[in-house]
Symmetry: C2
Subunit: 442 residues, 2 copies
């Protein structure tokens, strides 16, 4: 293997998903997947999407376990994935109805003051519920909130300042806790605000989109965009916990649902072929929000993410592989205009481009190219960039990508059998040019 | 001692200046102080200020050692104070003419790209010299620079964005190095920019004021002001090294010189009575920029700062004691208008207020009050706040101080013999009110 290349394969010793700590808070209530009741063999959950409605998300999840009533609601025990980072370790709680379990959140609140950062779309749906979860039976805690405009185009310094303004006007001190309630934009902005406010306060992630639940809320990458590039200003800053209440997906628009699946598909391609094969059988079930399929996909995605982040918190190596398709994708988001395409949509088209380039380099066979195109189309994601993107736009925006080192653009490319990738600047420039020409105007 | 109080005394076991690593890069060229040529006993350097001109700073420093010529300049060996923070440890180089010793800087530059952040006042004086030091004999390194407006009132988000704009437009990648060339404002802003750019790049501090050389460049506190309070947005982020070229003080205005001495005096009061006694004998020599006196005061201040920071990097306890007078002082800076008073001027008045309150509490005797007033007046620093400050202004601004915890304002107050202080929220509120009334309008 050439220097300047990091290889990550499913067979490498560094990857050991089975050794990941996945514990359950109340052991007898463990949710196991695949569920015996689903009548499927492992890796073979196949459900007809036509029989599943959105309303089944809560119902399905509630059916997973038989539990005593608590506060008149059925309580499910969360699945817990640990992110192992020494003194900065934290749990990801995954389950239906977790926002009803106030003790989960309250154990991670430091001090008596909380600031919930959310947006105009999420606030009417979940802000009251979140405030209730933070304060129920805990009258000493007071909660402030700041409601930001919704969308990637507001992930900027001006909007971030509204969080600081609110925190300072509310006289929040170093012992306060920030809570991010929303999708990836809210999580990234709230996390960066928490990293910077009084030089760092505690924070908690409550992701409400698939994108945030499977990817952006885990691992401590926080930040904002610059007009010239995505996520160029920020911090590595880990939360106290991540609380994934899968019920929040009930209200997620279809386009957002599909966008999140782009990141789920990514984990399969870069390091978990078995998961990819499972997705090929279950992609329609995921789109149709089958609760069991979603719970499994979220848990397995978080396990993959936690495993990678634990090995390389600050992206000096293997963590970069989580950015498959993102260098092309960020160029689309920046060039086409923040918020025009959702992040996952841009990543999907970017993934097709990275796979195309990998094939041009002779690193993968054409069956992988075909399978990637197929699954993304089934997920209702784009497989080509917007028509207005040109070769020169891609080149100029990619030049400020964070993975450029000493002027050399390093990319995540697939290499070998399904589930294997490399992070490398050691590739034939002609293959990159050919891919850019094939997918955009010159 | 009451709970919620941290005591730091000269006799405490945690303080052991003599055990601090103070090494010299090239041992035979060690600068020892007190100098045998100064004909003074330790702690008794007394020089007549009337015989010392500014131009002697360089000359004086050059006279310290006999050295071979290198690149046609006399080379002095730096004194080195280590800041011991495990994997984030770094050296502080102190000496005259260090900007001429390019190897000192170059060993700490990572990658091939450097961004020098400086201001309109410092750039004409030292930017070319700094670029030369970074590039001499090292043609692979290219240097960009961004020149900010000068002054505390520009320590804000809008000005910080100019640093990001320049870095991104220059396509600097994660392997670049930011260099702060200037006083405390530049160091704090450049450090926060380095902490945030691409989620963190390397940086180097080249402080050019006494304030920055003895205090703000050491210890990794970075940040910007908010209109409602000082340094409320920032990060703990350590530099690769701090390079203190005492020659840069040649061009420092008298008012800036005095401002820096407020922090020097602080070290004596909170933890180093012997240093305070030395200052009482040498304050005029310092004001007159006697090179040997300055070199000693800078080294001993850095040793004190390094010792405290090594014990408590993120200010969970003892590090807060470095803020003697700062809670009152920040209120003055915020209330009176950023930049109207220099930071050290506000700290000086704030120190008098903290000492007054300590006396009202019965924690120190009146001789300390008198000595503090005397030395600050001799240093040509203010000992009362601006007349426009009111009790309510102090109270409302101090309520957002970073040392407030769960609504309780903790202060650094002197207690016991000279050189002893406490960091506590356990004090009689009436003493605080009495001090505020004594020093400002109601």
């Amino acid at each position: 293997m050439a220097a300047n290349t990091i290889s990550l394969s499913i067979s490498s010793t560094s990857r050991n998903l089975s050794s990941l700590q996945t514990r359950v808070l109340i052991p007898p209530r463990t949710i196991c997947f695949p569920l015996s009741s689903s009548k499927s063999k492992p890796g073979e959950l196949s459900l007809s999407s036509t029989t599943i409605s959105k309303s089944r998300v809560r119902a399905g999840a509630s059916q997973l376990v038989n539990e005593p009533l608590n506060e008149n609601r059925p309580m499910t025990s969360p699945t817990i994935v640990e992110v192992d980072l020494g003194s900065r370790s934290y749990p990801i709680y995954i389950g239906a109805g977790l926002l009803n379990q106030s003790q989960l959140l309250q154990r991670h609140v430091h001090g008596k003051r909380v600031l919930v950062v959310t947006n105009e779309r999420v606030a009417p749906l979940y802000l009251d519920k979140t405030v209730d979860a933070l304060t129920r039976g805990n009258p000493n805690v007071t909660v402030e909130s700041v409601i930001l405009p919704d969308g990637e185009k507001y992930k900027d310094m001006d909007t971030l300042m509204k969080v600081f303004d609110k925190a300072i006007e509310s006289r929040l001190d170093r012992r306060c806790t920030f809570v991010a309630l929303g999708g990836g934009v809210i999580g990234d902005m709230c996390g960066y605000a928490a990293a910077s406010y009084l030089r760092g306060v505690n924070f908690i992630q409550i992701p409400t989109t698939v994108m945030a639940q499977v990817d952006s809320s885990v691992g401590g990458k926080t930040g904002i965009n610059h007009r010239l590039g995505k996520n160029l200003i920020g911090a590595f800053y880990q939360p106290q916990c991540v609380l994934v209440d899968t019920d929040t997906l009930n209200t997620l628009p279809d386009r957002e649902m599909a966008s999140g699946l782009a990141e789920v598909i990514k984990y399969g391609l870069i390091r978990d072929a078995e998961f990819f094969e499972w997705q090929e059988k279950n992609i329609e079930a995921l789109l149709a929000r089958d609760p069991a399929a979603l719970a499994y996909a979220i848990k397995r995605s978080c396990q993959n993410k936690a495993d990678v982040v634990s090995q390389d918190e600050k992206e000096s190596g293997v963590r970069a592989t989580l950015n498959l398709g993102h260098t092309f994708g960020h160029a689309i988001e920046t060039g086409f205009g923040y918020g025009e395409w959702l992040h996952g949509e841009a990543v999907a088209a970017g993934t097709v481009m990275a796979v195309d380039m990998s094939y041009r380099l002779g690193w993968i066979d054409d069956s992988i190219v075909e399978r990637v195109n197929n699954i993304l189309k089934r997920a209702k994601l784009p497989t080509t960039p917007p028509e207005s993107m040109t070769v020169s736009m891609f080149k100029s925006i990619m030049a400020v990508d964070k993975k450029v080192a000493d002027g050399l653009l390093r990319l995540i490319l697939l290499k070998g059998p399904l589930g294997n990738c490399v992070f490398t600047g050691d590739y034939d420039r002609e293959a990159l040019d050919a891919t850019l020409r094939a997918f955009s105007k010159s």
